[in-house]
């Protein structure tokens, strides 16, 4: 008798599109940012992107074979994880770094929990913080934009963390990506193009990204360097990995809350922690840590914001 009962865990999405289609469409929405990254930082960036994405796919295939589970490496989710991880790396890291990072991201960030839908933490970010803790030297060496000779430079956030004044950088520069930073995070324009596409198609909702970005903006405005209510919030929104994180990583269905209320709490939490780390923490950027911490809080958030179904306690 054919088993018509499907038992699965959240999220129970009833969309026409399959997981595969959504995943590859998200990948597609990230392509502009990748092209921009390669244009700004050179072909080494392309190498990193490809290594990251392909290593992730291979890792997933091998692990699924070893654990005798269904091999789903073509569903785009591993590719997406590897891609996002690569976007979070500086442009001149050694070739093995994205490979090791993707391996860790897929193995420890995803498969060890049982695969897609069951991971608690965003796998790409798990990979990134692992790399950051393991090889900080490589993860904090950035190069100048549009200068393919690998001249090192500091990112804008790193400069203000050290208290230096920023020269020769305008909001337009930040918006277009003319700054040091990670491959996929710098070109805000390209990222927003992809994000608007996803929003219009309904694949992500505005709740998390908008509350996230707004919270960070408000806090960095209030606690400015020249006294209260003097902060350069526009600079903060356009810098670091905030746009990339808010639209493409914090919105991951699996690792964020189910209800709208929960999502708003999630967005505010991410924004709070990001701002706190940027303003007073030791690191110049806190997006990855903030999202991971809120990923960890998501089960508890879900538990307390679940909609009451009629008839249950």
């Amino acid at each position: 008798m054919k088993n018509n009962l499907i038992v699965s865990d959240s999220p129970h999405l009833h969309k026409e599109e399959s997981v595969t289609k959504i995943m590859w469409l998200v990948v597609a929405s990230l392509v502009p940012a990748g092209i921009a990254g390669v244009y700004i930082f050179g072909f080494s960036a392309l190498r990193i992107i490809l290594l990251g994405a392909i290593s992730a796919v291979i890792t997933e295939g091998i692990l699924q074979l070893l654990t005798k589970r269904k091999v789903t490496l073509l569903d785009g989710s591993a590719f997406l994880t590897g891609l996002l991880l690569a976007y979070n790396l500086p442009p001149k890291v050694p070739f093995w770094l994205p490979m090791v990072g993707s391996l860790f991201a897929i193995a420890i960030g995803k498969q060890i929990f049982g695969g897609l839908g069951q991971n608690i933490f965003n796998p790409a970010l798990v990979g990134r913080v692992f790399l950051m803790a393991s090889w900080p030297k490589y993860m904090t060496s950035f190069t100048q934009p549009l200068n393919y000779d690998a001249v090192t430079s500091a990112t804008p956030l790193a400069l203000i963390k050290e208290g230096k004044v920023l020269e020769n950088i305008s909001y337009l520069d930040l918006f277009l990506g003319k700054r040091g930073g990670c491959i996929g995070e710098v070109c805000i324009l390209a990222l927003l193009l992809g994000a608007i596409f996803l929003l219009m198609k309904g694949y992500i909702s505005w709740h998390i990204p908008i509350t996230y970005i707004a919270t960070t903006g408000i806090l960095t405005y209030i606690f400015g360097t020249k006294g209260l209510f003097s902060g350069d919030w526009l600079f903060h929104i356009l810098s670091g990995g905030l746009i990339l994180g808010a639209f493409f990583m914090a919105t991951d269905y699996v690792t964020s809350p189910l209800t709208r209320k929960g999502q708003i709490i999630f967005g505010i939490g991410c924004g709070l922690i990001t701002a706190i780390i940027r303003l007073w923490g030791g690191y110049p950027e806190g997006v990855s840590y903030a999202i991971l911490m809120m990923n960890g809080a998501t089960p508890i958030i879900d538990r307390f914001t679940k909609n009451r179904i009629y008839g249950t306690r």
Binding site: L66, T67, K68, I108, I112, F130, A133, S134, W135, P136
Partner: protein, 197 residues
């Protein structure tokens, strides 16, 4: 004799304090960064464990149940102090390497855990072998974890660099890395045990 041997062996595998009983994690995380420290801590902890198990088993009928925990602590603290003094006298290098974790053996869950779960109700000889087994099991666990952490996290074993050009992953020198190693080792042991993933 067979019974005593069984008591000894159980502490090494079946009831390994680190991997099965999940005790003594704080010092494990901190100390297992290098193999030498792991061995040193293991030996020191074994000494304390033996001493406290024996004395508590000897005194079990005298110690009133209602205040047994503070009494155990006094016994344990005595052996920890003896150990500390001996270490400072005969191996000051190791004492400095282990730092505050030498006196902190007094809060090593394994020691109080065995006193509470075993020594207060078993014979002296049984308690001796239990303590020995637990201590050896703890030491072996420390050696295994610190070998992995030292090699992958610092590129050395017992202080000797092994592979040229190897870039160690610093995360393994952190407690986060220790937790990861222990988790993966546990999973690995389960695979061995059940022959499936």
């Amino acid at each position: 004799m067979k019974g005593y041997f069984r008591e000894f062996v159980k502490g090494i595998i079946k009831e390994n304090p680190t991997f099965v009983l999940v005790l003594g994690l704080c010092p494990t995380l901190a100390v297992s960064v290098s193999v030498i420290n792991g061995i040193g801590m293991g030996i020191a902890a074994t000494f304390v464990l033996l001493g406290s198990n024996i004395i508590i088993a000897l005194l079990k009928n005298i110690i009133p149940d209602r205040i047994r925990i503070p009494c155990f602590i006094v016994v344990i603290a005595t052996f920890v102090t003896i150990n500390e003094m001996v270490m400072k006298a005969y191996s000051p290098v190791l004492d400095r390497a282990l730092g505050i974790y030498v006196p902190l053996i007094v809060v090593n869950c394994i020691v109080l855990g065995r006193a509470e779960a075993y020594a207060q109700r078993e014979t002296v000889l049984n308690s001796f072998f239990d303590g020995l087994g637990m201590g050896v099991g703890f030491t072996l666990a420390l050696i295994l974890i610190s070998a992995i952490r030292e090699f992958l996290g610092a590129g050395t074993i017992l202080g000797y660099k092994l592979i040229k050009g190897f870039e160690p992953a610093f995360v393994l020198a952190m407690p986060s890395g220790a937790l990861l190693v222990i988790g993966l080792l546990l999973g690995f042991f389960n695979v061995l045990k059940n022959r499936k993933i």
